[in-house]
């Protein structure tokens, strides 16, 4: 603590330079935070996927349907405990930019298949009893100011026409990463009103009796429906989510590349700044050594300065990223899980300190090795 005034005085020696270096760290770590948020948003499905759930889609494409008759055939297979199905609706609420996913669901089995979604017993009962009933995720309901009992008009884009639903319940997730933007309504209501695709479902979700058997069960399903008009492709929910993300490109690679370039640039900036800071203080560092401060002290002094700048800038950047994430999804529904997890804040701080160490180590070593006699002569 007694060396604190010396440390602070050195940090504020060139206020503009220190501020700009802190600013560089802040911008880089803000970007880091955003990349993590976006990556998390894309891979959220993978992270929260149920270990014992499989997704069955049409082998040709996910947008191709499967017949509802598959439900009973799937239930008869060994290793399958439970089956439900869903269908993408793709409607518009008031304005096309108001995006949230709408699914026609199998009312009988949806709730048991997704125990991670919380909804009160009364609300679920009211939903089941109302053929035009619907349930909305908490964030979507909050976003549009919906209350239970509201009439929700949605314009169909695939299944054209005006559709109206009675909001009977609002569900919430049990984990922060759970998607609370979905809108569910009765599959029977959809099937009754649509003019094409009657008896088709978008995909099946099923629960296996033993997660260790998932791969075997998936193979059995696909071979069961091989050479039929509706061949299937079965994956675990995690693989399904991952393949969904891959359709949008290699997000992970993009993040690593952009992040790597940013941090390498930052490393050069920090190293250069610390080198300049040491070079212009050679005489002072020499005086400290002459007074009896050890080489190790000088090394630590320079390193701590570098780390403080890294910590302050990194912390500021991550704080801004966190605040930004708290404002919610800025894309209007494409990235419903817009969240910066604490573990990544810690990782960001760690990375900033690592860059601070790497940037400060060479100047610190040169300060440590400084020969007092030579340095004093240069003053």
């Amino acid at each position: 603590m007694k060396f604190l005034p010396l440390l602070i005085a050195n940090l504020f020696r060139k206020k503009l330079r220190t501020s700009l270096t802190i600013g560089s760290f802040a911008v880089a770590l803000f970007l880091f935070g955003l990349l993590v948020i976006v990556r998390g948003a894309f891979s959220q499905g993978e992270e929260i996927a149920g270990a014992d759930r499989l997704v069955v889609i049409n082998k040709t494409s996910m947008i191709q349907p499967l017949p509802i008759s598959y439900r009973d055939r799937l239930l008869r297979m060994d290793g399958i405990k439970q089956v439900t199905y869903q269908n993408w609706f793709g409607g518009v609420y008031q304005d096309p930019k108001n995006f949230f996913p709408q699914f026609a669901i199998d009312v009988a089995d949806q709730r048991a298949m997704y125990p991670e979604f919380n909804i009160s017993e009364d609300q679920w009962k009211a939903f089941v009893e109302d053929r035009e009933g619907a349930i909305a995720g908490k964030s979507t309901a909050e976003k549009y100011g919906w209350k239970v009992g509201d009439r929700i008009p949605i314009k169909g884009t695939i299944y054209t026409g005006a559709w109206e639903f009675n909001l009977r319940g609002i569900y919430d997730g049990t984990r922060p990463a759970d998607d609370t933007t979905q809108f569910w309504f009765h599959y029977d209501y959809l099937d009754e009103r649509r003019t094409f695709g009657k008896g088709d479902v978008g995909w099946y979700v099923l629960r296996v009796t033993n997660p260790d058997l998932s791969v075997r069960v998936a193979k059995t399903i696909d071979s069961e429906f091989a050479n039929s008009p509706f061949e299937t492709k079965t994956d675990t929910e995690k693989e399904f989510a991952a393949s969904f993300v891959k359709q949008m490109g290699n997000i992970e690679f993009l993040i690593l590349t952009v992040g790597g370039v940013v941090f390498f640039t930052l490393l050069l900036v920090t190293g250069n700044t610390m080198a300049i800071a040491v070079r212009e203080r050679i005489g002072e560092l020499a005086v400290l050594k002459a007074l009896g401060f050890s080489n190790r002290f000088v090394l630590i002094l320079v390193m701590v300065e570098s780390l403080i700048v890294a910590f302050a800038g990194g912390g500021l950047g991550l704080l801004l990223a966190k605040l930004f994430s708290l404002r919610g999804d800025p894309t209007g529904g494409i990235l419903p899980y817009f969240y910066l997890p604490p573990i990544w804040i810690v990782a960001g701080i760690g990375t900033a300190l690592l860059v601070g160490t790497a940037g400060g180590i060479l100047p610190a070593i040169s300060a440590m090795r400084l020969r007092v006699v030579d340095a004093i002569r240069r003053v």
Partner: protein, 241 residues
């Protein structure tokens, strides 16, 4: 008593024998100090004079443990410093040597108080004890009312007085002054030399000083000249008592 003939007793505070220092510059070997002997007692005030490049500052650096000799020994208060490790020498400097440089060498971002406090940060003194020592040192050099001033807010003479306070605050065994008035006008230089004289006379400090200025050198009890790597000008090894 100051002697340069190598016949001083081992009881001298500073005891230098056969001191050699060689540099290699541009492939050429330069023999700066050659077999130099010196004995300085506690409370002596010695001035070193000589032409540029004669080795005055080199001698001061060697005596202060900032540089290592090519040959010979330096013993200060019984400690032979020429064979000490770098880390031991650093600790030894903190305890025994007070440096006063020509360019003051204050830390510009620290106040006068904080500059003077620097050597005490290496001791185990408490904050209040350090404060007391720093205030005493600054009052002694006449800057009790300038403690919160930064070096840029002080005149050259005042800066050098802060440097002197920094040099004496930890009560070192001896002071090394390298051209302490070299950057000052005559009036400020006289004030600084009066202060150094007081440190010797009233507080019994041992001072070794390098200067180009004969008027400044006159303030010392003994003036030694460095020529061709050896100390000369003191008949029978002893200078002005």
């Amino acid at each position: 008593m100051v002697r340069v003939d190598g016949n001083g007793g081992a009881a001298s505070l500073i005891h230098v024998r056969g001191l050699d220092k060689k540099y290699t510059r541009g492939g050429e070997e330069i023999h700066v100090l050659q077999g130099l002997n010196l004995d300085v007692d506690s409370g002596d005030f010695v001035a070193f004079m000589g032409p540029s490049g004669s080795g005055k500052t080199t001698l001061l650096n060697l005596l202060g443990g900032l540089d290592v000799p090519s040959a010979g020994t330096i013993t200060v208060a019984g400690d032979e410093i020429t064979h000490m490790s770098a880390s031991k020498l650093t600790g030894w400097r903190a305890r025994h040597v007070g440096f006063i440089f020509q360019m003051y060498n204050l830390i510009p971002v620290l106040t006068a108080f904080q500059n003077v406090e620097l050597p005490l940060l290496l001791t185990k003194l408490s904050k209040s004890e350090r404060k007391q020592h720093v205030e005493t040192a600054l009052q002694l050099v006449g800057l009790g009312d300038r403690m919160k001033h930064y070096p840029r807010q002080l005149s050259g003479g005042q800066e050098q007085r802060v440097a002197i306070a920094r040099a004496i605050v930890s009560d070192p065994t001896f002071l090394l002054c390298d051209e302490p008035t070299g950057d000052l006008d005559r009036k400020a230089a006289d004030e600084i030399m009066d202060l150094v004289g007081r440190l010797v006379k009233e507080y019994g400090k041992t001072v070794l000083m390098v200067t180009h200025d004969p008027a400044v050198a006159q303030q010392a009890q003994v003036t030694l000249r460095l020529e061709k790597g050896s100390l000369v000008g003191a008949p029978e090894g002893a200078a002005k008592p």
